[in-house]
């Protein structure tokens, strides 16, 4: 297995993804990511020069609809009280979260 990713990169990516990994988890992820990336490197055998990327399959078949945009009109949404009822912390109007900026 080649070293495609380093432990520093795993930690950087974890930070980007808002994941906190223990050193043990980082080690496992490093091993698994290297194994998976080794495997997906097979794709480099294929010449894809000039091939447009396919992000959405609806363009492949001429189905009616699929790409149509709905009318941009006013419509009732869920009631605030019902939605906030699910929040871990709320004052009834806003979602409450811990401090964003630490005061020096």
């Amino acid at each position: 297995m080649s070293e495609r990713v380093t432990v520093d990169e795993v930690e950087r990516v974890a930070e980007l993804a808002h994941l906190e990994l223990t050193p043990e988890e980082s080690g496992h992820m490093l091993h698994d990511l290297n194994a998976i990336l080794d495997y997906v490197a097979e794709l480099n055998e294929l010449d894809t020069h000039g091939v447009a990327p396919l992000a959405q399959v609806s363009e492949l078949f001429s189905a009616p609809g699929g790409s149509g945009l709905r009318v941009d009109g006013r419509r009732p949404s869920l009631e605030r009280a019902i939605v906030l009822d699910q929040a871990p912390e709320t004052d009834g109007v806003f979602f409450e979260v811990p401090k964003v900026i630490e005061r020096q």
Binding site: A14, L33, P53, A55, S58, F61, G68, A87
Partner: protein, 483 residues
């Protein structure tokens, strides 16, 4: 623990509906009898995560009232149905198999839930699955694995393991699951039931907890092809709440499934019968192909040489989309929030760290990596380019044949714990299913035989976009030959 078997075939949907219409069976009694069976077997199988009894019994009574008046009944009147726990029902738990959604009660119904109830279905409860539908064995559920009703020491497949096992053990007449890379087809094959991958956009995704939005599909499981077809006709159709849903008219798929398969051209791709295919699975699928010849189909080889690239493409595209979709689980608006966080960033990462399991973290990391600066072109873009080539290869094949048949999975159900230590080995369980996911085409898996030890084997019938009717006809011919 010794292996046990809890297989029981549900009665045909049309027969049950006729009993309810004539009053010989009350929908409320039927629902109660299903709840009794669930209570007895769920401790052994871990199929249901939560039950929606009040709602189910109220619906059953509405159906009974209609029947008592002699009013015409909708297509699923009184039929007990289970819902994979990645689809939301108002006020009922929706965990997606994850601790991060423990306690969450969604304030709305998925479109498919509304459609099922409008058609008279009685929704019994929410079915266990791999966390966020990520897995091929149901062992990634935070609420414990589902056991295969055919052999409780084996996995039911995944990620819709509960949906497949519920039908196999008659803990529902039909169920809904979701399929992103094989999550309906592979468990249906492992549990010996029928599973349907509808064309991308055929069924609304509104109210489906998203895994990979360009791949996710909602589809039915049932005990036979005709019932699966009836279910699909109910849940299919356009939905203003899902901009990718197709407005193509919805046929009566049960009528389609009754049409003889005679004269259909069937393609068999050698790429799906190579190394890694279990010989007993091969033999069962080949027998299924013979029965198609007997039914008057013509069978010819087709070439799908890019098949071997499908797993790499799938695991890049799906994880990239998952890393974006799962960013919403951050402890702010719903679900789990870590109790021990002094600032906002720590709250995000502690909540996610405590809430997500190992496989979900692995996929978020892989997806974030594939999308990150410096790697985007090499991984994500490359995967999307190969995705187009794979899709075009299918379209060329479908110019020559009406349907393509393959094994659904390379093996029959494996043992619990057999693959949990090796993520790559687990990913390869999807080797025959991810191709159709990437191309957006439809498919049906139908039981075509069993191994010597009695484990079910499924045949995958693939058809081109919006040609579900053809897939049902072929699947029905395979099923009919075994009756």
């Amino acid at each position: 623990m010794t292996a046990e078997t809890f297989v029981q075939k549900p009665k045909a949907l049309a027969d049950l509906r006729a009993e309810i219409a004539s009053g010989t069976t009350r929908a409320a009694d039927l629902a109660a009898s299903y709840y009794e069976r669930i209570e007895a077997l769920n401790p052994r199988l871990n199929v249901y995560l939560s039950l929606t009894k009040e709602r189910a019994l109220a619906q059953a009574e509405r159906v009974d009232a209609l029947a008592a008046k002699g009013d015409p009944l909708p297509p699923l009147a009184g039929i007990p149905v289970g819902i994979k726990d990645v689809l939301v029902m108002r006020g009922a738990p929706a965990t997606a198999g994850s601790k991060i959604l423990e306690g969450y009660r969604p304030p709305y119904d998925a479109t498919v839930v509304e459609k099922l109830e409008a058609a008279g279905a009685v929704l019994l409860g929410k079915l266990n699955c791999d966390e966020f539908a990520m897995g091929s064995s149901n062992e990634n559920s935070a609420y414990g694995p589902v056991r295969n009703p055919v052999d409780t020491e084996r996995v039911p497949g995944g990620s819709s393991g509960g949906s497949a096992a519920a039908v196999a053990a008659n803990l529902a007449v039909a169920t809904l699951g979701s399929d992103t890379g094989g999550s309906i087809r592979q468990p249906a094959s492992f549990c010996g039931v029928v599973g349907v991958l509808p064309t991308y956009g055929r069924v609304s995704r509104y109210g489906l907890i998203a895994f990979a939005s360009s791949l996710d599909r909602v589809g039915p499981f049932a005990g036979n092809v005709r019932d699966a077809a009836t279910m699909l006709s109910v849940i299919a159709g356009s939905d203003p709440k899902d901009a990718t849903s197709s407005t193509a008219p919805v046929p009566d798929y049960s009528v389609e499934s009754d049409r003889p398969a005679e004269g259909l051209r069937i393609g068999v791709p050698a790429e799906y019968f190579g190394d890694g295919l279990d010989p007993e699975v091969r033999a069962a699928v080949e027998k299924g192909i013979e029965s198609l010849k007997s039914a008057g189909c013509s069978v010819k080889p087709v070439k799908l040489p890019l098949t071997k690239y499908a797993i790499p493409v799938y695991y890049l595209v799906a994880t990239a989309e998952a890393s974006a979709n799962l960013a919403r689980f951050d402890g702010v608006r719903y679900g789990h929030r870590s109790a021990s966080s002094g600032n906002l960033n720590a709250m995000y990462s502690n909540s996610r760290d405590e809430g997500f399991g190992a496989e979900v973290k692995r996929r978020i990391l892989l997806g974030t990596y594939a999308l990150s600066a410096g790697y985007y072109d090499a991984y994500y873009l490359k995967a999307q380019q190969v995705r187009r080539l794979l899709a075009e290869e299918f379209l060329r094949a479908f110019a020559e044949v009406d349907a393509i048949v393959t094994p659904t999975a390379p093996t029959a159900a494996f043992k619990l714990g057999e693959k949990t230590g090796d993520p790559l080995a687990m990913y390869l369980a999807d080797i025959y299913t991810v191709t159709a996911s990437l191309a957006g085409i439809c498919g049906v898996t139908v039981p075509c035989g069993a191994t010597e030890s009695g484990l079910p084997v499924g045949m995958q019938v693939l058809a081109s976009h919006l040609n579900e009717g053809t897939a049902f006809r072929v699947a029905r011919a395979v099923e009919a030959a075994r009756e």
